[in-house]
């Protein structure tokens, strides 16, 4: 499973224009590419209990800085959507770039959920790695999610 998603991401890199590679968390299942694209993701993978990891790749023609995109995302989720920012910190990609991770909490149908957004920015592209799910299942998968994000590589 791990190798198949890596291969898929690499396939995107060469055949579909994606410029990243990532190893999905252990015991996560990749979704069909078209299902992910429908919601703006290059790829998504899910655990059996609904923890989902997804990656977006967005062009950055105006060369917005990492701080710009992090601020824009933080404002969008906190001010407009009411997400609670629990924590934030810099993270490193396997390829050496420094990214920034925002860890949010949000109630859906009165139940607490966790939602992480990790942002990597190059002069031409913005990579957004999202991870989310119900709080308890997410806590159980947290180490695997962190491990997967640490494999993120920009090509």
């Amino acid at each position: 499973m791990r190798h198949s998603l890596t291969a898929l991401a690499l396939l995107f890199a060469s055949g579909c224009g994606s410029h990243f590679a990532v190893v999905s968390p252990d015991d996560f299942l990749e979704l069909a590419h078209e299902d992910s694209r429908r919601y703006g993701y290059e790829l998504r993978a899910t655990s059996a209990d609904g923890v989902v990891v997804g990656v977006r790749e967005i062009e950055n023609p105006q060369h917005g800085s990492r701080d710009f995109w992090v601020d824009a995302i933080r404002n969008r989720l906190r001010r407009d959507a009411g997400y609670a920012l629990i924590d934030e910190s810099d993270v490193s990609a396997a390829s050496g770039q420094t990214g920034h991770q925002l860890r949010f909490g949000h109630d859906e149908s009165s139940r607490p959920y966790i939602y992480w957004i990790t942002v990597f920015v190059t002069p031409d592209r913005v990579f957004v790695v999202e991870a989310g799910g119900r709080r308890d299942p997410f806590a159980a998968a947290q180490a695997r999610v962190e491990s997967a994000i640490s494999t993120f590589r920009i090509r």
């Binding site: 919601y39 997400y83 909490g105």
Partner: protein, 305 residues
């Protein structure tokens, strides 16, 4: 008959003049002042602090029903002891509040002696009389636990839960604990926006107190007239005036109880939702030209079908 009417007219003039001497005040109106300071933290949440004072206008309107408050509904609710309405939210009170000074005053009234006690006897009028209120917008996460923490903290501070619903909680805490309680709320969750107000009601409070004492004096003088063995027509006129003065007196007492209660207990509202854009000083149409930002969030990520 004409003599009787003349006497009645004289009494009416007497009563009116008594009343006019006692309560020739001008309408007192609540007005919120402009913010005197605001700041914005580095993380983007906004922070407003407002200070306002009430005004007593001096129009010199003497006599008659000159008392005209803008918050009569609230005054009435509090004066009658029914479930209250705060200035921000409406709903039923959830808990029996501890007895504020205003209630102690109300009890004192039932066994009053001369001179009558007023709320100024329960409130230290030599100091600034401030009504503190705070409104917090907190991120929508683990709302049930956050509400429980706010409620528990309020009770620990000697306060009570005034109102509670799925997305908000209103608590009231003794004014002396207000500052410490605000710091507690800061730790409850991700505070997206906060507004703290301090309204100086000292002038209005003292004005109302004076009017009450004057109205009581007028009422006693009118009541004394009834003991003079007046004719029926005269009694009717005097009683009408007595009823009017008593009504005004109750209105003033209600207002005083309301002010005493608000001074004694600060009101803190915690809303688990984003603040409206106008409170964030953002134009309504402000939107970054990157539509993908709008698609962020759990609903898209977790939609697997």
């Amino acid at each position: 008959m004409s003599r009787a009417l003349g006497s009645a007219t004289g009494l009416l003039v007497l009563a009116a003049s008594l009343f006019g001497l006692g309560c020739g005040g001008a309408p007192a109106r609540y007005r919120a002042g402009a913010p005197d300071s605001s700041s914005r933290s580095s993380r983007g949440e906004s922070f407003d602090i407002q200070m306002a004072s009430t005004e007593s206008t001096g129009s010199g309107d003497s006599g008659g029903s000159a008392y005209d408050f803008d918050e009569d509904t609230v005054v009435t609710a509090l004066a009658t002891g029914t479930s209250g309405s705060s200035s921000m939210e409406h709903g039923s009170a959830l808990e029996q509040p501890p007895q504020p000074p205003a209630d102690r005053y109300a009890q004192a009234e039932t066994s009053r002696t001369t001179p009558e006690a007023t709320a100024t006897d329960a409130v230290d009028t030599s100091r600034e009389l401030l009504i503190y209120t705070a409104v917090f917008h907190v991120g929508v996460y683990d709302v049930a636990a956050s509400q429980a923490l706010v409620a528990e903290s309020a009770r620990a501070a000697g306060g009570f839960v005034f109102q509670q619903a799925d997305d908000h909680i209103v608590v009231r805490v003794p004014a002396a604990r207000f500052r410490a309680f605000v710091e507690t709320v800061e730790g409850v969750g991700d505070v997206l926006h906060r507004q703290i107000d301090a309204q100086d009601v000292g002038e209005e409070f003292r004005d109302v107190d004076i009017r009450i004492r004057n109205l009581e004096a007028v009422r006693d003088r009118i009541a004394a007239l009834l003991e003079r063995g007046l004719a029926v027509e005269q009694v009717l006129v005097v009683e009408r005036e007595l009823e009017r003065v008593t009504g005004e007196l109750e209105r003033m007492r209600g207002r005083q109880r309301y002010l005493s209660d608000r001074i004694a207990y600060s009101t803190i509202t915690v809303l688990f939702r984003p603040a409206p854009r106008e409170q964030l000083d953002q134009p309504d149409v402000f939107q970054l030209p990157f539509s993908w930002l709008d698609s962020l969030g759990l609903s898209n990520l977790l939609n697997l079908r």
